[in-house]
Amino acid sequence: MRSKSTRRLRRQVALHAVLGPLALVWLFPLWMMAVFSTMPENGIFSPEIELLPSNQFWANFQALQAETGFLRTLFVSVVVALVMTALSVMLTSMAGWALVRYRFRAKWLVTALIFGTLTLPYFVVVIPQFIMVARDLGLSNTWFALIVPPLFNSLGVLFMRQAFSMMPAELFDAAQVEGVKEWQIFTRVAMPMAKPTLAALAIILFLASWNNYLWPLLIASEPGMMTAPVALGTLIGVNRVSWASIMTGAVLLTLPMILVFIFLQRFFIAGITAGAVK
């Protein structure tokens, strides 16, 4: 009995001896992001190894704001992410509902087309999207350009189809017999029952939009319509603001998502893993 518990203890020590240092290495970039953002401009490149935060965050942020109007870019990012998420959740829910609830001829074709794009590299569509929005429609630097083309995703339909198909169809049929309109069955009965899935989907879509880089970089380069990641990207490698100021921007981009992750971890992990486990 004693040998068994000794072995268990040894195993436990070994586990932490491997995982602990690795976890520290993994936390290091995020920790240093926070530390750098609080350092005086000349502190980052001082000869000493400095691993603890200083107190210059506010000054660094003011320098960033003065040079780039960073708050405006954050505002653009928030609006785009919120509107994009709301619209995309709505569209994909309706589509998922249609695929579960109704039988129609071209259903297999629609389903195959939607899921056929699940693993399609984005590069295959981004060039025509750019030609269409920027050149043909002349809509660069508009809310439309930032929000509408990224609306489509097949993951949302996959999630919602899954959620709706696990609900009892008799419930919807009963409502129908009562004379409830299909639209109301969808909004009043089905959608409220799908809340956990909707939450997971919304978080994933918001995160994707918040961090989206390539499309906004291509389509919105004017100061007033730049998203925060694009604005931050333009500062890397040029000497417009100090590295400490760039780090305040990185912190402002990252911290909200870290908080979302901490407080809504359950939905978040459900969203990431839902595609995999079915």
Partner: protein
């Protein structure tokens, strides 16, 4: 049950409208574009200027070589690491589980630009924190941005940092769907934990791991922001130029849409091919 088709399309219409205009049409259009010479107007059908040019373009071949190199090193290392992480994070013996999981899962929410900025700053050759730490430990410092091998290693490290936890999260959810009694039986039969991992866990995880490999292959084939921002446009001297970056240059700097479309379809074709190869290699041989 009358008029179901109309109702169905009513629900589908807004989604299909976006789908058709921003995905289906572009998929078809960029395929057509990939045969057009687009350097001057009018665009003409000259596949020798796009598909024909690809195998002779040293810049493309360099980007292809770099992308495949990153793929061959980074994907296996990362998926193996993610598998080990998932198993360790799932252990009953683990203390401080919340912090441990946070350490590896947090990078999943960090945007490309933010993490690229931090990595570029940390690895600065002259008095960057990584070199300072190396020096402090009595090790030689590395010129991360002017040494081609080091720059490549940096890109691989950065991508691994960003995505290992994501894959571990997926594998962990796969682990948790394995019933406990399988392990209980094995433990009663005095099968060591390592052999349990080898002969129970790994075979049962095969579909999930394969899913991660396919996702990672598709992601790596499209690598763009990291070489764009961390190694400053694929530097030094194109040593970290990837297909994604090459496409960006051709499509959106030179505005050669036809050539860029051929690159896009090359990326898609290779991603499909490599994924199928993996699926074939991992097929059930029973």
């Amino acid at each position: 049950m009358r008029n179901r088709t109309a109702t169905a399309y009513g629900f589908l219409a807004p989604y299909l409208l976006i789908f058709a205009s921003f995905w289906i049409w572009p998929i078809v259009y960029s395929f057509w574009l990939s045969f057009l010479a687009t350097r001057q107007l009018p665009w003409t059908f000259r596949p020798e200027m796009t598909w024909g040019r690809l195998p002779q373009d040293p810049a493309f071949l360099n980007a292809l070589k770099n992308t495949l190199l990153i793929l061959v090193v980074q994907v296996p290392v990362m998926v193996a690491l993610a598998t080990v992480l998932a198993v360790l994070l799932n252990s009953q013996l683990l203390r401080a589980r919340g912090i441990m999981r946070f350490a590896f899962f947090a990078p999943v929410v960090v945007g490309e630009v933010a993490y690229a900025a931090v990595f570029r700053l940390m690895f600065t050759a002259d008095r960057g924190i990584v070199n300072k730490l190396l020096e402090g430990a009595g090790l030689p410092t590395v010129d991360w941005f002017s040494n081609p091998t080091a720059a490549m290693a940096l890109i691989i490290m950065a991508v691994t940092w960003r995505w290992a936890g994501y894959n571990a999260m997926i594998i962990l959810s796969g682990l948790q769907s394995i019933p406990d009694d399988v392990y209980e039986a094995a433990t009663l039969d005095r099968v060591s934990p390592f052999r349990q991992f080898l002969f129970i866990t790994l075979p049962l995880l095969r579909p999930v791991i394969l899913f991660c490999v396919v996702l990672s292959v598709i992601g790596t084939m499209q690598l763009f922001a990291e070489p764009f921002l961390i190694t400053n446009r694929g530097g030094p001297g194109g040593a970290t130029e990837t297909l994604g970056l090459f496409l960006y240059r051709q499509g959106f700097t030179v505005l050669n849409f036809g050539y860029a479309s051929a690159v896009a379809y090359t990326i898609a074709g290779l991603a499909v091919l490599i994924s199928l190869l993996n699926i074939w290699l991992a097929r059930d041989r029973a």
